[in-house]
Symmetry: C2
Amino acid sequence: MTQINQLTIIGTGLLGASVGLAAKQSGFAKKVAGVSRNLESAEKAASVGAIDMPFDKISDSLADADLAVIAVPLSGFDYIFSLIAPLQRPNLFITDVGSTKSSVIASAKKHLTDPTLFLGSHPMAGSEKQGPESASANLFPNKPCILTPEPDTNRNLINTVTALWQALSMNILTMTPEQHDTQTAVVSHLPHAAAALLIQTANTLGGYDVASTGFRDTTRLASSNPPMRVDIMSANRPALITALSQYRDQITNLMAILESNDRQALLDLLTLSQTSRDHWLDDSFH
Amino acid sequence: MTQINQLTIIGTGLLGASVGLAAKQSGFAKKVAGVSRNLESAEKAASVGAIDMPFDKISDSLADADLAVIAVPLSGFDYIFSLIAPLQRPNLFITDVGSTKSSVIASAKKHLTDPTLFLGSHPMAGSEKQGPESASANLFPNKPCILTPEPDTNRNLINTVTALWQALSMNILTMTPEQHDTQTAVVSHLPHAAAALLIQTANTLGGYDVASTGFRDTTRLASSNPPMRVDIMSANRPALITALSQYRDQITNLMAILESNDRQALLDLLTLSQTSRDHWLDDSFH
């Protein structure tokens, strides 16, 4: 099994701290450093055992690092890449956990001295919770993790990042940044939007008094961190607009079925939805 | 505490069997009978301890009943009420667990000899699972249960049905059938539709390979029983169309925000959604 000496987590929020915790528990990294603009956050991550060494200066945190994982909100990537650029060296690999990939890779190319030492990653592991105190190594096993290498991405970097996510028991997929952004718009960013808009609809029409577990689960993603979601939705606007447009067409189609009281068409639609979801679950969650 | 001698569950599927199980465990009913067109289903409910006495004839199951709970799909209510009508007696109270109320009450008035002995109930407790083998008394505590009495509904019937749902630790609300149908359209039937249409959108645009827990939870209701959902959506068409129309307007509004890249409006929308949901959760689930 691949093992590195030092992993550095840049941004010790829920996801960064969870990567640190899981990398330590799996034995992938002998030591894990964590850096946060706010030292308190890094110290909290250390206090829950997610990292070994808390820092508040990126230069200090990267001095002995073999691999850095950027886990800051998308709006912070330009700044982080600009801080990393003067610190780059051939044996410092860099990856991230950002929820969109085209914007991240454009930022890497713009700022880094050597962008071939950066590989885009997206572990599809999240929670509506926040902060290092909610860190959990259980976010990762059997979840998809997408890698978006470019033609000139360093080969050893790809192998090392692959080994990290494999150590966390993730299912690794490789695709282009554009494919990633199109697909996550449909199955991640659209569901976040759908959940928030169900809440807006209840705010307009009422119904909270009689709402129960179905409403709770369908709207879970509406409790996600708003500034983080603004970053993601804004970074992936074209693909999300396409997904919303298709979703709106589906709603119009269902309204027409209900207006004509076509029970057979309604049964066909709901049956196809049920079997499609159940096939996906059978394939994905074992 | 109110205790009745015999409760009869008409329709021993997941919800009916769960009511039987919880009514026994809470001590509300000394004996619980269960009747199903298919004796095997009633016997399965007996084998998991949800009922004491399985029947396949409604007349037999109601002979000694103090209270009957109708727990069949909505499309079966006309038939069930027509079978109960000749068996009605002043000391046989009747309620139901149907997901819409206007259609159920219309059916009761059409078929029953004495509709003042029927009270519409809707315990907001469900599961995407099916069958008596999944019965659970845990479906009910702290969930809303709506009663829809008419001006002439028998007072002792209202007290007895209230005592049943109180014994199951539900939060009881009283409203008109129309209020019930409008509110459940928003927080129950719309989320079911939203979940199914997210699946349809992924079927059209792709994305299953990278889908994870957010997609799984937001689409959970799409795995609900299709014929049962057709019954419910069809019975509540006008209110569901109104809810879908409002939801579609919300989508159009979000698309306009994204198209103009108005980050502040997006942040406001997502923040309001988050705080609205969290306030509701604080009020409802303790």
